[in-house]
């Protein structure tokens, strides 16, 4: 492709930017990475994503796009080698369905178990566990959601293998229960060990400190 200019505005601690990084790496796309100094949003970010003012933003030949899953589908449609989405419409619908489920069900429950306390925390923890368990069924006996190799759904959900484990450690909860969901637990491990995936991960100790601080802020500084 002649002179393609690809830029990614991201944040080192953002799992949503990570999703897009994974997609770009899997496609072998050369890009310029621009780190946002959150919460001090740059004028560039505010100009390129005026609606939501968030990272990640992909800029391809000057044209900006926001929302990580939208960006990933765009990447897949534009650079058609190493396809991320399945070909069959029904399989595509399933992949989109489960990505949405993870974002709408697993993530909020995980967040609540992270920031709440007492009964609310317990309830959120249970809900998160059940939602992860439901996710397990989507593997349908395959090593990865994409089949023999990884695809859209793997990179849409894989980040939770890091972040949910951080929540487990910091908030002292159990979300991805190894004995309750052994297949999903194994998938998380296998996915995160893949070189292309592993190379892009932010340093865990830095993430731990960052998220501990984040939790303190969200919980109002309570001990």
């Amino acid at each position: 492709m002649a002179e393609d200019k690809v830029q990614l505005l991201g944040y080192w601690g953002s799992p949503f930017a990570l999703r897009v990084k994974w997609a770009l790496k899997l496609k072998g796309i050369q890009y310029e990475y621009l780190e946002e100094d959150l919460p001090n949003k740059s004028p560039m970010l505010l100009e390129l994503n005026p609606v939501l003012k968030k990272v990640p933003v992909l800029v391809h030949n000057g044209k900006p796009l926001a929302e990580s899953l939208v960006i990933i589908e765009y990447i897949d449609e534009t650079w058609t080698h190493n396809p991320l989405m399945p070909k069959d419409p029904y399989d595509r619908a399933k992949a989109r369905f489960w990505a949405k489920f993870a974002d709408e069900k697993c993530v909020p429950a995980t967040m609540s178990s992270f920031t709440k306390s007492g009964e609310e925390k317990e309830k959120a923890e249970k809900e998160a566990r059940e939602n992860f368990k439901t996710l397990e069924s989507a593997l349908e006996g395959k090593p990865f959601f994409g089949g023999e190799g990884i695809g859209f759904l793997d990179i849409a959900i894989g980040w939770l293998g890091i972040w949910a484990r951080l929540v487990e450690e910091i908030a002292e909860v159990t979300l991805i229960a190894d004995d309750y969901m052994p297949v999903l637990s194994k998938w998380f491990k296998d996915f995160l060990e893949l070189p292309t995936i592993k190379e892009a991960l932010p340093p865990r100790d830095k993430l731990l400190v960052h998220n501990k601080g984040f939790r303190e802020m969200l919980m109002g500084g309570s001990t």
């Binding site: 929302e67 589908e73 595509r92 619908a93």
Partner: protein, 229 residues
């Protein structure tokens, strides 16, 4: 294709159910509409959408597809010979997906929030959010339509379906709360677009009447009213 090959499980008041029906109508695909009884969920619904137990569900050759916008994309991909619902250009396609996600995740929750019992301050705040959203969508219409009738250009597309399906509830909310949300002076593009959308052949028969929605909302409110303290 035999009519029974394609089924839509839904209910007439639901804006989400309208979406697959409009999509199928645009593709001239015959389907069987299975209306769920309000207050109960049919065994077929529970079986086809065990995760959410919600409508709409599209059942195509016995395979269930859930989540309204995911269904619309599925319809677009399966019946590819019909008029396309998503733009063919990947960037325009991504923009369409972006706006549809914005409408569902940010804008409509504000609209729905207006109808909930709350103080005047809360309601006023939500109204501001709704108006801000409409201003963004007014601008988006300009960019997406490129001077044509719909977000999708000459014909109804993905964003039209995403936003248009909420027009019934938008009008009902205006009526019940005595407010004007879609205003000719503030949103001339959208007002014109709304009229065209609602009168389109593929939409007319599935768009519920505002008065019927108001009645339905009143019924819901009465049914779920907390006992007087």
């Amino acid at each position: 294709m035999a009519k029974t090959d394609v089924k839509v499980l839904g209910a007439w008041p639901s804006p989400f159910v309208m979406r697959p029906r409009i999509a199928l109508n645009l593709k001239s695909v015959e389907y069987e509409f299975l209306e769920e009884t309000f207050g109960s969920k049919s065994p077929l619904l529970l079986q086809s959408n065990p995760v959410y137990k919600k409508i709409p569900v599209l059942i195509h050759q016995d395979k269930p597809i859930c989540e309204s916008l995911i269904i619309v994309q599925y319809v677009d991909e399966v019946w590819a010979s019909g008029p396309s619902l998503l733009p063919s250009d990947p960037y325009d396609q991504a923009l369409a997906r972006f706006w549809a996600a914005y409408i569902d995740d940010k804008w409509f929750p504000s609209v729905r929030g207006i109808a909930l019992p709350q103080g005047e301050e809360g309601k006023a705040e939500l109204m501001v959010q709704v108006f801000e959203g409409l201003a963004l969508l007014e601008d988006a219409f300009d960019k997406c339509s490129q001077g044509k009738a719909f977000f999708g250009g000459d014909k109804i597309g993905y964003v039209d379906i995403a936003l248009g399906s909420f027009l019934g509830w938008l009008k009902a909310t205006e009526k019940m709360n005595n407010v004007k949300l879609l205003d000719e002076t503030k949103n001339p593009n959208l007002v014109g677009w709304a009229e065209r959308f609602c009168s389109h052949d593929a939409v007319r028969e599935v768009m519920p009447e505002t008065d019927k929605l108001v009645e339905f909302a009143k019924m819901l409110r009465a049914r779920f009213k907390a006992p007087a303290s």
